[in-house]
Amino acid sequence: MKAAFFFVICGSLATLRAQVRPPELNRLISTRCAVCHSGGPSAKAGLDFSALSFDLSNRAIRDRWIRVHDRIEKGEMPPKGMPFTAADRAALLKELTPPLYQADLADARKNGRGPMRRLNRDEYEQNLRDILHLPDLDIRDMLPEDREAYHFNKVADTLDMSRVQLAAYLDAAEVALRQAMVTTPEPSPIQKFHTFGRNLFPGLRSTGTRQSMFFIKDNHGVNVESEDDAPPLSKALLEDQTLEMGLFRSPGWPYGAFPRGFAANHSGRYRVRFSARAVLQHPDFILTDAVQAVPMTFRSRRPTNHDIAEDVKSVGGILEIKPGRHVYETIVPLAAGQTVEYGLLGLPVPQVDAQGITGSYRFPPMPPGGQPGVAFNWLEIEGPIPPESWPPASHQVLFDNLGVSPNPAQPKQEAIRLLRRFMSLAARGPVPEEGARKFEQLVLASLDRHEPFADAVLAGYQAFLCSDLFLYLREPTTEFAVADQLSHFLTNSRPDAQLLTARLSDPQTVAHEADRLIDGAGFERFVKSFAGYWLNLRYLRRDDPDKRLFPEYQLDEYLTDSLERETLAFVTALVRDNLPIRNLVQADFVYINDRLAKHYELAPVTGSAIRRVELPKDSPLGGLLTQGAILKVTANGFSTSPVLRGAWIMDRILGEPPTPPPPGIPAVEPDIRGAKTIRDLLTLHTKSSTCASCHAKFDPVGLALENFDVEGHWRTHYRGTAEGEVVKGIDHTGHDFTYTIAGAVDPSGTLADGRTFRSISDLKAIFASNPRQLARNFLEQLTVYATGTPVRFSDRVEIEKMLDACESNGYRARDLVRALVRSKVFLGEYGS
């Protein structure tokens, strides 16, 4: 009766409401849903069907109905206990789905699948690096951080523009263009620096007790008699070419191991050559040859003696310093005024004592067999390495063949030629003639004002690099736009020449090109950026492990660095090697190096390089869930929370993000007093049925990971500060520590659907048994990342088609990427 009345009203207001609910849908809603969800302010969860229009062309209203659809589909609504049969559910969805699909598709066709998207700062920097042939260009930090949505910094709706943002683009473009231009008739003169022995360290001693650094003659420390004093070296030793500088510590504030008397005169790439050997230090400063190599890094910095709060960057990669004297070489980019700092990974970092009181930089006790370190004999720095041509390629992008200080006879004509040329190099599609003329006018006006030729031309370039033409990626309606989207997806940068000329109207070609990009060098940027956001890898250094509870991880940058490389290598292999998606949660291999072999208690391997290692049978390891990086970003450095880890995994890996408590439900204040164990705590958390129904979906998942501490190391017991057996010692930074072995870990649990697990391995098997869900989530994450718009309602059917196509082969990751880029979701109507 009520429904009929409602229908009549709707009909009479047809001019106001674009569409009315189909009668059958209306009947079902009225009889099954409106019992709770009507009545204005008293409607449950603020959802009032009597007031909810069915004008699905209105996005807000459509989104509302999509939420209704989804909650019914997932079986969350109507709540248990309401009269609602499976047939009712099917009937409701059958009524609701087609109009939603049609309306969403119509909107996408009319307005595009998503709005045009601003380049984020990573992409902007990489675009300019590629256009200007400046691989070391560093302008990212001049731009404001980009907002994050749906886990990524690639979402069109949140990549806003503001005066601050635009001003930053103008500044960054200017800096980049000035760096690309040279003004001297010849390359900077090459600076040659050679030093040895005593001059390999700025002072006579380092922070930390003597064992940190000392000079060596014939395998004996010299000048080490007094702990406090460092008397000058004798003249003979100062000039002794065989004197070595021994370093036995990692870099960490305050630290400054760099040669005396060197600072780069000019910015550029410098070749660093040095002679060194890995050694072992024994009591009384006696050295022997090492057994294993010591990984070494360099950082660029200014040669000041403290406060390295300024720009310090890791450069030049990792070198393995082997026993026995060898010559090593690396290339490091330096800014003018900078020098190279030596760092040894994985060695102790003498630190101010645990209470933060300065003055004590105790070196930790020497391990049995000796303390590893490196003895350096001599060092050469040479650079800047001249470019292949002069003026360099970057300058030629700007001024073609006009040389340094361009001053052509016909400035206007040449300026226009250069501008057209630059736009054709920098644009990622055709520049409309009318637009091009605006930039010309700018350049000509500058010349009329008697600006120097170069300045006038650069102003035109700068304007172009900050124009909407350059800053935004557009809907894929042309081959250029498809190329643009594809290359920003898989390389975070502009399309290369081959891609710009590829016949991308053919989806098969798109997939081929995707394959080429995946195999190319630019794909590293995809992995870093995608994993950085999808898996939160960029937060890996957010929380330091607690000093009291986890002394073994203090200032262990080698561990952190290795954990990061492990996950990057894993994601790379997943796609490049086209691995079945099941490997996300269950794999029989890991990517490790020497440090990680130790961390994961696997058979030792040699060297810092990350390599694939097959796991022993019954290993709990393999897949993302048990990777240290994942376990670290889902903890806080102090404790692990099954709630947070569980929610994270459901969201990121399984694609079932926890829903926030609905509005209208009062927040319940959990009282955790008296909770002794994490399980007590979770039980208290879920005492209220309101909380419990959701928490049951993710808390247990996190419980299975309780065997892994805040850095992903296996544990059977928790650590505490109060109760339990006391463990004491001095950690590798020289700190005293005390912690206790607390309660035992219980990693068993029951999932919301009733399936039980005793350990992480069981849970992995459960997740691995539904590869389609893993693959769907992977595709959904890729969709946001690649297109800047999350999966729309009308995309869902396309996603399922892609999954169907990849099913028979076990949903392999590269197959999924290929399926995506040739789909309508990626190509829009262009793909049909």
Binding site: A60, D63, K110, G112, P115, M116, R118, P144, E145, D146, R147, E148, A149, D157, D160, M161, S162, R163, V164, Q165, L166, A167, G203, L204, S206, D229, P254, N305, H306, D307, Q355, G356, T358, G435, K438, F439, Q441, L442, A459, Q462, A463, C466, S467, D468, L471, E475, D543, D544, D546, G637, F638, P660, P663, A667, E669, D671, I672, A675, L684, T721
Partner: protein, 430 residues
Amino acid sequence: MKAPHIACRPIPRRSFLKGSGVALALPLLECMRPAFGKTVEPPRRMLLIANNLGVLPKPFFPEGAGRDYKLSPYLTELASHRDEFTVFSGLSHPGVSGGHSADNCLLTAARGAFRSGFRNSISFDQYVAEQLGQVTRFPTLNLGVNIDKGNRSLSWTRDGVLLPAEDSAPKLYERMFVQGDKESVERQIHRLEGRGSILDTLLDETNRFKRELGADDKVRLDQYVTSVREVEERMLIARAWENKPKPTTTEPPPADIQDRKLFFEKFDLMLSMAQLAFESDSTRIVTLMADAFVTPALRLNEREISTDSYHGLSHHGQAVDKVRQLEEIDRRQMQLLGKTYASLASKKEAGERLLDRTMVFYGSNMGDANIHDNTNLPILLAGGGFKHGQHIVFRRDNNAPLCNLFVTMMQRMGIETDSFASSSGTLTGL
């Protein structure tokens, strides 16, 4: 040579801004007013401080109302300033919920931040800056402590776009005080002129772009055009400021504090920078967000580092040790506020105390972070020449709009307005 090569010293502590303060060429107002100012009233200022996890409500809110209220445990930290501030209870933004997502809405009062597709609205500070016109070198300064700059801010444009906070004291110092030589100033002015023509071109070029665009694309492009226009407008003023000498100071630039554990040291430093900005009349409006949400385990005092991240602690669940640590954190913030009040009171400008010309607002989007409650917000207001020393009470079960306080503050700034966002009037009783 006793000391090792590298000086052993604690994390750099700033040495400046202590004692009698900083020598500044004050005030600049006199030379600026004819060119840019709209009013000849004595300058009014405001410092808007927020902590996005708030404080524990029980030890914060006092008992009793009006002037005879009894100081709460936290407010005893401010006892010596009792007559300098007012504490409010029963204020919040109507309809604003969503727990942590509301932390971008403290100064905007926009609803629905937890929904996808949410767009913020203009923030109080930006609104005031628009009304005030650019009377100072910086229309506003937007500062942060440990802030996730990409995702969190107190300041939002008219388009609801985030304005990123500055979290580096040295950079701020440089912008405020470091004067280029004559040549570099000229170069900068020349640069700004060149940029003017670039912006003209961009506007012009974009106007061309009026062919068929989807509705969403139009919104995006409008944002771009607005940005170009705003940069252009501001640049005209910036060019004029470029010709004026920057205020001078005899103090060395502050050392940066990068260690995020040193939350209070950073907070203290930024508060000092805010004061320095007011003293030099570099700006009239400063916002400062202490991003407690992303602050890791922090140094509570000389002896102790917290056992959990700030956010972790905020979900204390009444666990005794967590509550104790939070109380320590909250009290230290109250002490910092007290220090700021005292410091502003000790400075004179044209015979008046700087505090009387500066409204110091402290608040949070969280009434009770333990349960993600966005009502009954902890709010303090000091200075600005108001009659303080009160506890102004609104209903706990039906809060008054916080924007009413903003309207009152705006009027004190000399702006003729009677509404902002969700306000229903001014705040009575101040």
